[in-house]
């Protein structure tokens, strides 16, 4: 009888943890992007900018002004599609080793050689805030971008 008690506690804990996991998943569904709220237009899931200019204007503007924005490396290229139907997994924070590496492997190798450790690229080169023109365009305010 006494031997069964710890097992029971483990089972109970497991059930609790599982329940908690399920609960969180139901309450906070994995696809929360605005685009997913437009099931009538799934064809436009890749046109993130249009909605994100309204719902997350700072992020959208930052992207637009960043190197990725100038080069038209669009949201879905790194973040995937909100319904997960593309080849890139949908992620708010794309993995360095899965996503960044696809284009920046040579630079990443250099960084490892230089600093000896694998770092999160984002800590020094924020993806959305790395301006293309650096000093070259500093004088030209306001932004060249218009929507």
């Amino acid at each position: 009888m006494a031997a069964k008690k710890p097992l029971l506690i483990i089972a109970l804990l497991l059930a609790l943890a599982g329940g908690f996991y399920l609960y969180i998943n139901i309450i906070f569904p994995p696809v929360r992007c605005e685009a997913a709220k437009h099931p009538e237009a799934p064809e436009q899931y890749a046109d993130c900018l249009e909605c994100h200019l309204k719902v997350t204007p700072a992020t959208a503007q930052n992207w637009r002004e960043s190197k990725h924005g100038v080069l038209l490396v669009k949201c879905v290229v790194c973040h995937g599609l909100p319904d997960g139907k593309g080849s890139v997994p949908f992620a708010a924070k794309p993995g360095v080793q899965d996503i960044c590496v696809r284009c920046h492997e040579p630079a990443m190798k250099q960084m490892v050689e230089k600093y000896g450790a694998e770092l999160e690229c984002d800590s020094c080169h924020p993806h959305h805030q790395n301006p293309m023109h650096r000093r070259a365009f500093e004088a030209k305010k306001p932004s060249k971008t218009s929507f």
């Binding site: 804990l13 669009k74 879905v76 590496v101 284009c103 630079a107 000093r135 971008t145």
Partner: protein, 753 residues
């Protein structure tokens, strides 16, 4: 980066759950990587980025940029998403198909034997009845070099028909004729390295940002390296390319010839010409081909005063002066152009006028100073232009109508003299016209989709209804399949091996990474099996594989102005692309063509630093070409100009990019861009259905109100098969290059009732 509440809760819940089970917390995409990486070239654009294809077992599972190629590991979204969505698209064609009961009957799956026999029988009978001129090959700047070389040989030497043309006629023919007439030989003298050294970029008729994204990245990086680097973008549309420009110069569509002559005028007036260079390396010619003098040329361009250019093009006179000065005063200027210049009824002239600017200023033959024509497709340069796979050409710069050239090819190919027909074949538009008329009765289409891409489609699709059509294709949604009598399933890209040659004279090999899907076969196999059945002597095709064909082509190039004898298959396997001329195996490849000490074809002891050996007098030609309006400018009845082009996410007819959800959903369907001022006048709001009505047809598109287009101009992308915008276009071609004017036609624009 802040973690959202949901992520935190979910993360901790997962951690609790998993740690409770005693399992490690796995990464979301923790599958093991590929077994090996196979080197190749991107399937899409003329930038020609190197790729590495990740293979696991016999499946392609990943793709990344080749760090050793010019793209230094980078790919744009099209290249980066080639695998798996495109390679394993659900509608890949994996079995041969034929229509047993004529065009109206369905395509039925059959064996290879049956399909090949069926196609060959029709071609054989057509040749017997109507002669070899009744059969034609319509190829592609996306075909492999080995395929184009082989098809050209089969047709011109085997079947004795010069009706060999292809989609490069629709995109690069004017650039070819431009280089030929200005320098004597085709292909640019510069390379992408010039981008890293230029201090002035003159980009005209190119939306580099969307059509050549990785080159645009390189230009942007150059700009970023120094504020002194100036970028001029001359384009009636304010495209994304203009975002990095110091000057965006919109002008009335079709008036760029006036601008280019006007720039030349300013250069002389401001004494920014390079007299020493002009004297030593150039000759002048009138449009008639007659020789002219520098003085005559100066007097000719003197007519194009900045004020006159303003009147014609709408560019402020002060800006004409400014652009000309920026160009000529810079230490190294590179010009980049693409379809905006080539797809024009005066496309060759426009090409000549760009070359003129470089020749009068000496902005050529130095790092960063070069006229660099951007090529649209990945293998129009190497595969089609160099192998001579067009109606008027023979390999390595030879011409069909030159007897000596024909004899050289006949001797090399081991066929009797007189085998190759002395008259050039039919260029694309004439070919389809002859099909409509019933003169050409059987067509072999490889790797292209003419039912979607020809101009004036209503006029030319009947050609495909009338003629017998054999077609190689990978994807079931290609529009042309509707007209195909026989469909050969082609091995796709990394399922076979072959060479691509990109914009910068760089030849690079895609090695076979995986076996062909289903019953599909490499096209060289298909071509040879087909040709043998039609009656071509098997001795003409003694090849076991693509490498054998490359070997023959490499030997043929030896000693020619296209010499790449040093680019062996083995080298291509080891190196990530090599730029010709490259006459010996130890030669590293050439960056500055025509320059002594750089180009191995210029004798080391040549008295001059530059030697334009392509032309008989060793000099480049400066042409006196007047401004001419487009074939169909806007008028009172059709007051708008319609232009077409690409968007970054879709490639050509979207048979590939349409399979990639990330790309397709960015641009699921065609639209029309309208300037806000025009939209207001027309009472059109974003998303409204707008009718474009031209003299050929009318179509409806949803409106996108944007200041990308200048007032008076509307733009439609051409990728959408549900909206074949080419139905609206005329079929006027450049007199010399025979390239159609896809960039300008007049149209009415109104809101759908």
């Amino acid at each position: 980066m802040a973690v959202s509440r949901r992520e935190f809760l979910k993360g901790s819940a997962a951690a609790v759950a998993l740690s409770a089970l005693g399992a490690p917390v796995l990464a979301a995409t923790g599958s093991a990587g590929p077994d090996k990486w196979v080197k190749g070239v991107c399937r899409y654009c003329g930038t020609g980025c190197g790729v590495l294809i990740g293979v696991k077992g016999d499946k392609a599972v990943a793709i990344k940029g080749d760090p050793n190629n010019h793209n230094e590991g980078k790919l744009c979204q099209k290249g980066a998403l080639l695998i798996p969505a495109v390679v394993y698209a659900k509608d890949r064609i994996t079995d041969p198909m034929i229509r047993k009961g004529g065009k109206k009957s369905p395509l039925e799956k059959v064996s290879w034997e049956e399909a090949l026999d069926f196609a060959a029988k029709h071609f054989r009978e057509t040749i017997q009845k109507d002669g070899p001129q009744a059969v034609a090959y319509y190829g592609s700047g996306q075909a492999l070099t080995e395929e184009s070389y082989l098809a050209n040989k089969i047709w011109k030497a085997g079947l004795r028909s010069n009706n060999v043309d292809g989609n490069p006629r629709l995109c690069m023919a004017s650039a070819v004729a431009g280089y030929l007439t200005s320098f004597g030989k085709d292909e640019p003298m510069g390379t992408y390295n010039d981008i890293d050294n230029a201090t002035c970029f003159f980009i005209i008729g190119s939306n580099t940002s969307e059509a050549h994204p990785i080159l645009f990245d390189r230009i942007a990086r150059r700009k970023e390296s120094s504020p002194d680097v100036k970028i001029i973008v001359a384009d009636p549309r304010r495209t994304n390319t203009a975002r990095i420009a110091d000057m965006h110069v919109p002008f009335k569509p079709g008036t760029d010839l006036a601008l280019l002559n006007g720039m030349a005028n300013v250069i002389f007036r401001e004494e920014l010409d390079n007299t020493r260079f002009i004297d030593r390396y150039t000759a002048f010619k009138k449009g008639t081909g007659e020789a002219a003098s520098l003085e005559e040329y100066k007097a000719f361009v003197a007519e194009y005063t900045p004020e006159k250019v303003q009147e014609i093009s709408g560019i402020p006179a002060a800006d004409v002066v400014k652009i000309a000065k920026l160009f000529a005063e810079s230490t190294a200027a590179v010009s980049l152009w693409c379809m905006g210049i080539n797809q024009r009824s005066k496309g060759v002239w426009a090409n000549n006028l760009i070359h003129n600017l470089h020749l009068i200023t000496g902005q050529i033959g130095r790092p960063g100073a070069t006229p660099l024509s951007l090529t649209g497709q990945p293998n129009a340069c190497g595969g089609v232009r160099d192998t001579g796979c067009l109606a008027h050409l023979l390999p390595a710069g030879r011409m069909v109508e030159n007897e000596q050239h024909r004899n050289q090819m006949e001797d090399f190919w081991g066929v009797p003299r007189g085998t190759i027909q002395p008259k050039m074949g039919l260029h694309t538009v004439a070919l389809f016209e002859n099909m409509v008329q019933g003169n050409v009765k059987a067509l072999f289409i490889h790797c292209t989709n003419p039912a979607h891409t020809l101009p004036h489609l209503n006029k030319y699709t009947p050609a495909l209804e009338k003629a017998f059509v054999a077609q190689t294709e990978c994807f079931m949604d290609a529009e042309t399949l509707k007209y195909a009598d026989v469909v050969f399933p082609a091995a796709f890209w990394c399922e076979t091996d072959g060479v691509y040659g990109c914009t910068e004279r760089r030849y690079a090999l895609t090695e076979q990474a995986i076996p062909p899907l289903g019953n599909s076969r490499p096209v060289i196999q298909v071509l040879m099996d087909f040709a043998k059945r039609v009656g071509v002597d098997p001795k003409l095709m003694p090849y076991k594989n693509a490498a054998d064909i490359w070997e023959e082509w490499r030997k043929l190039s030896k000693g020619s102005p296209y010499d790449f004898f040093g680019i062996t298959r083995n080298r291509l396997k080891k190196e990530s692309g090599i730029k010709w001329p490259c006459p010996t195996e130890d030669h590293p490849g050439t960056n500055l063509r025509y320059v002594r000490g750089e180009d191995p074809l210029v004798p080391k002891d040549h008295p001059d630093r530059i030697f334009f050996y392509g032309s008989p007098n060793g000099k480049a030609t400066i042409w006196l070409r007047p401004h001419q309006p487009p074939f169909e400018p806007a008028d009172a009845e059709y007051p708008f100009v319609l232009t077409t082009g690409r968007v970054i996410d879709q490639w050509h007819t979207a048979t590939m990019t349409g399979k990639v959800p990330e790309l397709h959903r960015a641009y699921p369907s065609a639209f029309v861009e309208i300037n806000p001022d025009d939209a207001q006048k027309l009472g059109v709001k974003n998303g409204d259905q707008v009718v474009l009505e031209t003299r050929r047809d009318k179509m409806t598109f949803p409106a996108r109100i944007t200041d990308t287009c200048m007032p008076g101009l509307v733009f439609c992308p051409f990728f959408d098969k549900a909206k074949l915008v080419n139905r609206l276009f005329h079929d006027a071609v450049d007199a010399a290059s025979k390239e159609p004017e896809y960039k300008i036609c007049s149209t009415k624009v109104y809101k759908q009732a």
